[in-house]
């Protein structure tokens, strides 16, 4: 049996739903039906996977939470970090990456934690404290050459609470403060369907959603690890 034109249209509908991380199969019956078909119908599943492969995207998980997609960096659907407000220079992009990894390390400190699907809550203050303590550990570590351009220093140089325009109306967090970046990244994760704000658990507290666990476990963690391993190998051989 080959897929009909109509089936191919369904492939498109399912991919369209999966591309919007906030669409839930529980809320949309079409999505739910197509997701069920993806799980049961091998031919349909192959068609979806092939189309996605052409778009440099692959399916990370097909649970009831929906189809979670992972991108390759060159994909048209990959997030462009420079699209985030106030992110322009090398340091800004580095900070977004460091804070993202920091949040993941805080919530999932060991490999085994990824198998434990209890709910994780993080707050801006906790993450700030966590990353800063790691920086303090680096600071105490004896080094031979004080080159001062290790990545942690970019974070450590930020003030924990600098606010520009003191005295003029409501002072807002400035990009020169680390809490600004932590809050910025967490809010971005909310937009990406990775986290949810839970105000009743304390100030600026977020719940990391299942999608976060899947993306970090199935894709981001290992790919970044491999990339770092390649860099280290190149350093040794060169």
């Amino acid at each position: 049996m080959t897929l009909s034109q109509r089936d191919l249209a369904d492939v498109g509908v399912l991919i369209g739903c999966a591309l919007r991380p906030k669409t839930r199969p529980g809320a949309e019956s079409d999505y739910r039906a197509l997701l069920g078909r993806y799980r049961a119908d091998v031919e349909f599943r192959n068609a979806v996977d092939s189309v996605l492969d052409g778009l440099d995207v692959r399916v990370l998980s097909d649970t009831d939470f929906g189809l979670v997609l992972g991108v390759r960096r060159e994909s048209v659907f990959a997030y462009r970090i420079s699209d985030l407000p106030n992110v322009s220079g090398v340091t800004d992009r580095l900070l977004v990456g460091l804070v993202s990894a920091g949040i993941a390390a805080y919530a999932y400190p060991t490999p085994a934690d990824f198998d434990d699907d209890r709910v994780r809550w993080v707050s801006v203050d906790e993450i700030e404290r966590f990353i800063r303590e790691v920086c303090e550990r680096f600071k105490r570590m004896p080094t031979d050459d004080e080159t001062l351009d290790e990545a942690w220093r970019s974070y450590d140089r930020l003030s924990p609470a600098y606010k520009a325009d003191k005295g003029k109306g409501k002072a807002r967090r400035s990009p020169a403060s680390s809490t600004y970046w932590v809050a910025h990244v967490l809010n971005w994760m909310v937009d990406q369907g990775l986290a949810r704000l839970v105000p009743n658990r304390g100030p600026e507290t977020f719940q990391l959603l299942e999608r976060f666990r899947i993306q970090a476990k199935e894709l981001a963690g290992n790919e970044t690890y491999d990339l770092l391993a390649t860099i280290r190998r190149d350093e040794v051989t060169s």
Partner: protein, 521 residues
């Protein structure tokens, strides 16, 4: 490389660098004193160094408590001191001096980045040649932190500032608590209840802080036991034991104090002010005791938490083979790489974590609409630019006499009334010279219409004022479908009432009557 015969050998010592770094900690203060000469008040001879040390001491005095010093408090304190130097100078100058000092300690000039100085290190190689290289010393003196309970930024002194600029001032919570208790006992003996109450308040805050410290430790233990393993092995058991003994002490001591305070309450000749203070203190101490008991329970179970977590975390299944190790495999390596190497993998992590992004496409029609849309009005929170003071105010669009006449017409008819009645009255009234009855009519109509459906005009306040002067500040207007039958006007014959309530009453009585009229005709 010449043999430095003229310099002492100490410069090559290991410990020499430490002395240089210690001296460097004072440099921001010295620099600030130096730069003070270039400020507008530079000639007045304020002692920036003394003020700076005062600022650090002020911050340390309350560091770690619930009411840590805010930026404004620090500035206000220093400004008060500066006032004593030159009482005849303006307050603004004292404030500027204080701000200058605190800003210098925070390094606000560099957006609160650490102070950074280049240091020369000399070393002697085996062959006697002298090698020189630069290293950089980075440190902070004061830092700002967010205080969520009060929603303000508070100041804290760094370890560097405390060690180098205050000199070995160690902050031991337990001593603090013992000191407070002693003070409270003394004050109660002397009857200084006002002071004693403050001390009791502080004692409660300390109990809360204790619990916080322990909560952090236990949270870290539950999160990832490896991060606190050395702590548990070395300091924590000792600390817990000490805390526990200490808490037992406090529990006994505080109940004794409570009895003391109650004694003051029970005494027949207690002054009323003392009695109320004692009652408040008794309440506070009671709460203190509860906090301590709570903390005590937590302390007792701390070791069990550790053992449980150790069992849970050390003996759980290893986890899937493909599970990434974010902490050791990604996060820590990323932090230790140089910036230019780290940025690519760091960004990769964020991108892969983020999932998909569908690029928003610009629809041409939307773009054109957006471009043609009028500029958004500034948010009403922002006060309007004070350009009224410049030049004469614009002449009012409606002459005051016309406003006056319109208000009199409305008063004459009395509210509630239909618009047609008001207009009829305006048409039949004799106005003084220079007042056009058509203008009065138009004003009444505009005022009523504005009340009915306010339009956002550029000059909002004038429209509100004019409508209020004609119809009264609470006037309410509504339509019931009846049409106006005045020559020269068309549309709904609106109902004008002095307020919402009157309008509702009117509607009840007249709508029924009007319906009957219509049916009759």
């Amino acid at each position: 490389m010449s043999e430095p015969s003229t310099v002492g050998r100490a410069v090559f010592d290991e410990s020499f660098g430490g002395r240089v770094r210690a001296l460097l900690r004072a440099r921001p203060v010295a620099d600030a004193a130096d730069n003070a000469a270039r400020q507008t008040w530079g000639e007045q001879g304020y002692d920036v160094v003394t003020l700076a040390l005062t600022a650090i001491d002020t911050v340390i005095a309350r560091q770690g408590f619930d009411d840590e010093v805010t930026y404004d408090e620090a500035v206000a304190g220093l400004a008060a001191l500066a006032t004593n130097v030159h009482p005849q100078r303006s307050f603004d100058e004292h404030d500027a001096v204080a701000r200058y000092v605190v800003d210098a300690l925070l390094n606000r000039k560099e957006r609160e980045a650490p102070f950074s100085y280049q240091v020369s290190t000399f070393a002697r190689a085996d062959d006697g040649a002298v090698r020189h290289r630069y290293t950089t010393a980075e440190f902070r003196l004061l830092t700002e932190h967010e205080d969520h309970t009060r929603g303000v930024n508070v100041l804290r002194a760094s370890t560097d500032a405390i060690n180098a600029l205050v000199g070995g001032l160690e902050f031991d919570v337990e001593d603090e608590q013992a000191a407070i208790e002693l003070m409270l006992a003394r004050q109660l003996e002397r009857g200084a209840f006002g002071q004693a109450e403050k001390a009791a308040e502080r004692s409660r805050l300390l109990s809360v802080r204790y619990a916080d410290e322990l909560r952090t430790l236990l949270a870290d233990t539950t999160r990832d036991i490896r991060t606190v393993l050395t702590q548990w092995a070395e300091q924590v058991p000792e600390q817990l034991e000490r805390n526990r003994a200490h808490l037992e002490d406090r529990l006994a001591g505080e109940s004794k104090l409570l009895e003391h305070v109650r004694g003051a309450l029970d005494a027949t000749d207690t002054e009323p002010t003392v009695a109320t203070a004692a009652a408040r203190i008794a309440g506070l101490l009671e709460e203190c005791r509860q906090r301590h008991t709570e903390l005590h329970g937590k302390l007792v179970s701390a070791r069990t938490v550790f053992l449980d977590e150790q069992t849970r975390q050390s003996f759980r299944p290893v986890g899937g083979l493909r599970n990434p190790d974010i902490t050791d495999g990604v996060f820590l390596p990323l932090l230790s790489l140089p910036v230019d190497v780290a940025v690519d993998p760091a960004e990769t992590f964020a991108i892969l974590l983020a999932g998909t992004q569908v690029q928003p496409l610009v629809r041409f029609a939307d773009l054109v609409d957006d471009l043609l849309a009028p500029r958004r009005e500034p948010t009403p929170e922002e006060p309007p630019a004070p350009d009224d003071e410049l030049g004469d105010p614009d002449p009012p669009a409606v002459p005051p006499e016309v406003l006056e006449a319109a208000a009199r017409v409305v008063d004459g008819v009395g509210l509630p009334a239909r618009l047609s009645d008001l207009l009829l009255a305006a048409r039949t009234t004799d106005f003084p010279d220079g007042v056009d009855s058509a203008a009065v009519e138009r004003l009444i109509v505009l005022a009523v219409l504005w009340n009915y459906a306010p339009e956002t005009t550029e000059d909002l306040s004038t429209a509100v004022d004019a409508a209020a002067r004609v119809l009264g500040p609470t006037a309410a207007v509504d339509a019931d479908g009846a049409l106006i039958s005045m020559p020269g006007w068309s549309g709904d014959d609106l109902i004008v009432a002095q307020d919402e309530e009157a309008l509702a009453r009117w509607a009840e009585t007249y709508s029924v009557a009007a319906q009957r009229d219509r049916e009759a005709s």
